[in-house]
Symmetry: C2
Subunit: 175 residues, 2 copies
Amino acid sequence: MKKADHAEKFCPIARTLAVLEDSWSFLILRNAFLGARRFSDFERQLGLTRHLLSARLGALVEHGILRKTASAQDQRAFDYTLTEKGLALYPVIVSLSEWGRAHTLEGDGPFDYIHATGCGAPMRPQLCCSECGEPIGPHDVSVSASFTLRERLAGLTEEAAERELGYPVPAVESV
Amino acid sequence: MKKADHAEKFCPIARTLAVLEDSWSFLILRNAFLGARRFSDFERQLGLTRHLLSARLGALVEHGILRKTASAQDQRAFDYTLTEKGLALYPVIVSLSEWGRAHTLEGDGPFDYIHATGCGAPMRPQLCCSECGEPIGPHDVSVSASFTLRERLAGLTEEAAERELGYPVPAVESV
DNA sequence: AGGGTAAGGTTCTTTTTTGGAACCCGTCAA
DNA sequence: TTGACGGGTTCCAAAAAAGAACCTTACCCT
């Protein structure tokens, strides 16, 4: 099975990964969040080949994550800026950063300080329940298949559904 | 520059991506969170080649994200289970899922329902400030370089520091 | 005890994707 | 008007992935 086929799975994780093809897209987004806008910014900061940068930026524009506009200052240049859809990837980038900070820096001590503007205190971003605000971990949630998902898998055997989905069919609970 | 070199950058995002080499590792983790444990589980569910699965599982074990233990039932078999370090990747997987749910399913309607066990209501996981609990977006935070980071970059020119880091050197604020 | 099969890999060969460098073309600035 | 810069594209060699075959233990059944 080829990587590209992830786009066809009925799984939001696989589809997101299909859009973000490889690590370079994540790093392009990181730098976009930090203010990079120009082809040459990304090239210099990331050190990836022009060929690949061109392909990745093109795909991100294609998917509506970046917007490509002519630069006001220089007719030769373009600005790549985050769209709303791109800005919505912020939690992905922050989550990667938080894990890396906690598990890959080994004795290098704290790396940065983050302040929420509304609050002022140094903080760590964390995943919470949108309803009660409590932090969410792998043992704190239950997931049930929606009607749409069940409909999509209707008539398939357990094995076929698992292949279609990429993981075992989730339990059908009330809702 | 090669992808592997991301591990040497002093950036928690790049280092995390270096650990999670490509999309397959993310999908392996997704399925591990959903209960997959055996080589054959991952192979059947993901449909990737045995060669690559072997390499990715090996790397995840190597990095302490999965733990490989002999199966109790079958002397031939092994269980790959998430360590604490692996469980800590939960927000990464959830963030990918939430974005994909909101931006890649196009009219396919709701996909699943998530309930926090402590709360009961259907919810969407979101990123919040650990101190005040308010939701965090790209415009709600300011980041400043830690002493460790500044020390690491001391004596380098702006350009050299940018190359070392992979992005522009962050502003030095109080703290 | 012996044959078939399953678990978990490894080893091949062929196809795809990269990395790296060179080239190109329309600006821009001196 | 000459040289450099921005943003690509093209080419080739090198690296990595897909797919299939093979291998080794260890079950399971008779």
